[in-house]
């Protein structure tokens, strides 16, 4: 007898996601992912000045403000074939990388670690043994016994008041929680340290972006940061030196804490390398452009079919035709209508955003997300897609950190763990950490590139855009923390005629496509274990491994006191 479990909303994510699974014999047999909010920002943009689009699109979402700003200016620049100064690329690159590092640290420690770490169990740990374990794994200076004792005391006080606060939604004592009290304490110590360290990433974004949380410095044509070697109130060498210092602090944490913790937790949960494989067609775009046009990139991107690295096809430049021609969006199972019929799949330049809400229909329409495909196939995007594509492209830093992580996992697990293990729920976490180490190296390199170029006397940051009469089309893509983000704009005589955003979580959390093929979440949930349908922690683990972000973000404070999280386990179906 199968049991239907509805999780609505999924917690510790951004936005409103509903997940339904049918469980039979302790395994998921069928799954649906449903975006529960309409994002119609595209309709707001029509008729507006393309130079304003970035400021509007960065309001789509609470986490991804920066990424939408970047994709938007790139789309308009691509439409105008506008080259921007390299200084502007370097500054944008540093903002994007700092944002990504922030996002990954917060995702692991503050949003998803609680799926694996039992905070209450940490109270039972021997703090000295826990610190010794941490010291055996890394020489991070926050691993002292005194620090571990202090944190445990603090946690006792916190739990003692009954105010678990941010820890409220954990499944403490769940049978799927496997870590020893000492490992749990180690994770809690680093959870708190991560809260401190993530601030440095924010400071970098705030200084380079002129404002936080919403950056203000980007412009179609470059950035609005005046550069100077000495003048006040602009981006001076002094400020850049402060930025460098924060970069180094982040780098220390990413390599000596985050990467190590993910490897350690991954090794203790080795059985989760066999769960959550799902779609193994991986798409990522190149990013961190090194020239004004976007023809060379520090981080490569492309497409891998069936998980086979040798099938890698590169995406080479901004506006790459192979990418542009491949993307389309279906709505057969989404709450939209297309003029030409609901079995059609439309290219984003011809995209339509006409809502048609029908209620949740298992075999019909059930999500506000469209279903994007690449040459007709659903994709997995995100850190795993990124790392596999970079490995396939022979990117040396990625090889280095992937090897570091897998070697550490193998040592702790006491058995060799290879790249194959990455195609999994826990593998997505590992890939995110590996990618983060690569991003950290690259951010420091971008800083050097900017300072070197400034020293040569090049202080330009902006090329003025010119909007010709007639129609232009452009795509701006960005390899955002959660994967491929693309904005598609059609401009007619200086006004926006059409605009579509194809966002990473739409790729991954997509409903079934026009051929009824499931999206990445849906596919990855199949065969997922579920020990207790009333507490579907295992389902959350797989969904959280993607770091869902349902670009919508309604934020109303609700005075009516009602439980916001419902897990309903209905009878047989």
């Amino acid at each position: 007898m199968s049991k239907r479990v509805t999780i609505d909303p999924v917690t510790r994510i951004e936005g409103h996601l509903r997940v339904d699974v049918e469980v039979d014999g302790g395994r998921v047999k069928k799954a649906w992912a449903s975006g529960q909010m309409w994002r119609g920002v595209e309709n707001i943009l029509i008729g507006r000045d393309p130079r304003d689009a970035w400021a509007i699109t960065q309001r789509i979402c609470g986490v991804c403000t920066t990424v939408h700003a970047m994709a938007s200016v790139r789309a308009v620049e691509n439409a105008l074939q506008l080259e921007i100064p390299v200084n502007a690329q370097y500054i944008r690159n540093m903002i994007m990388l700092a944002h990504a590092i922030h996002d990954h640290i917060v995702h692991f420690y503050h949003l998803s670690a609680l799926d694996w770490v039992d905070v209450v169990s940490a109270l039972k740990a021997d703090p000295d043994k826990s610190a010794e374990l941490a010291q055996s794994l890394s020489n991070w200076n926050g691993n002292s016994k005194a620090e571990f004792r202090k944190v445990q005391e603090k946690l006792k006080g916190f739990v003692g008041t009954g105010q678990l606060g941010i820890f409220t939604n954990g499944y403490w004592g769940h049978p799927a929680m496997k870590l020893t009290p000492e490992v749990n304490l180690l994770a809690v110590v680093h959870y708190l340290q991560a809260l401190e360290v993530q601030r440095y990433a924010n400071k970098i974004v705030a200084i380079l972006g002129s404002k936080s949380p919403h950056i203000q410095n980007v412009a179609v044509g470059g950035v609005a940061n005046p550069l100077s070697l000495d003048a006040q109130s602009v981006l001076t060498v002094e400020r850049l030196l402060a930025v460098k210092e924060w970069m180094l602090k982040l780098d220390d944490f990413v390599k000596n804490v985050y990467l190590v913790d993910v490897a350690a937790i991954g090794a203790f949960y080795a059985d989760w390398t066999k769960v959550g494989r799902g779609i193994t067609d991986y798409l990522c775009v190149p990013d961190i452009p090194l020239d004004g046009k976007g023809t060379t990139f520090a981080l490569p991107g492309g497409y891998i079919e069936g998980g086979k690295l040798e099938s890698f096809k590169p995406i080479k430049t901004f506006g790459d035709q192979y990418f542009v021609d491949g993307v389309s969006e279906a709505i057969k199972h989404s709450w939209y209508d297309y003029k030409a019929g609901n079995n059609q799949s439309l290219h984003p330049y011809k995209g339509e955003t006409t809502p048609n809400y029908t209620d949740f229909q298992d075999d019909g329409k059930y999500s506000w997300l469209k279903s994007p495909t690449f040459y007709g196939k659903p994709m997995q995007v995100g850190p795993l897609a990124r790392v596999l594509n970079m490995l396939a492209a022979g990117h040396e830093p990625t090889k280095k950190y992937a090897t570091t992580a897998l070697d550490l996992v193998s040592t702790i697990a006491g058995t060799p763990v290879g790249l194959e293990a990455m195609h999994s729920t826990i593998g997505r976490h590992a890939a995110r950490a590996v990618g983060c180490a690569v991003q950290s190296d690259e951010m420091i390199k971008q800083w050097d590139l900017l300072v070197t170029n400034m020293a040569k006397g090049d202080l330009t940051t902006f090329n003025k855009p010119v909007f010709p009469k007639g129609e232009q089309m452009g795509v701006g893509f960005h390899e955002a923390p959660r994967g491929v983000l693309s904005h598609w704009v059609v401009i007619d005589s200086g006004k926006i005629a059409n605009y579509q955003c194809v966002v990473p979580t739409t790729w991954n959390a997509a409903p079934r496509n026009e051929n009824d093929q499931p999206g990445a979440y849906e596919a990855c949930l199949l065969d997922n274990p579920v020990a207790d349908p009333e507490k579907p922690l295992e389902v959350l683990r797989t969904v959280h491994s993607f770091d869902p972000c349902l670009a919508c973000a309604v934020h109303v404070v609700d005075e009516e006191q009602r439980p916001v999280v419902t897990v309903t386990a209905a009878g047989s179906c």
Binding site: P9, G15, G62, H110, G165, S212, V554, V556, V557, E559
Partner: protein, 160 residues
Amino acid sequence: MTRNAVLGIGNILLSDEGVGVRVVEALASRASWPDDIELIDGGTCGMEMLDQLEELDLLVVVDCVRGGRPPGTPVVLRGEAVPVFFRTKLSPHQIGLADVLASLELTGRAPRETVIVGIEPESLALGMELTPAVGARLPELVDLTLGELERRGLLVGAVG
């Protein structure tokens, strides 16, 4: 000097949802503003604001508040009403303000006092304009916010 902030939150793409941001914009456009009160357009952000919300003496959150009142009704929540409010998990937005404040509790850097200035929304439909019911009360919401600051001896001589 004390450390204080007015934080406007909400999504400006969803009409009345963005009212908190609109209040902050109105305050920022005033001729003068004191250094000890930071104005933050928080949008729908979460953890990115952690730094700015640390160790505040006073945090005034401006947001739309759904409580079944007629649209456009302003509300101010102080003292005991505030923690109750955040404890009951107010929105499906999981890394929103409630979690930022919980994180600050955990690190012992939570604001000494938090006040919520809100207004009952009429519509959360897509659009960048406030509805007439809420838009008409915007000046009142600005005054309520200023009033909270004045009650605590802030803004002395700064507001003309």
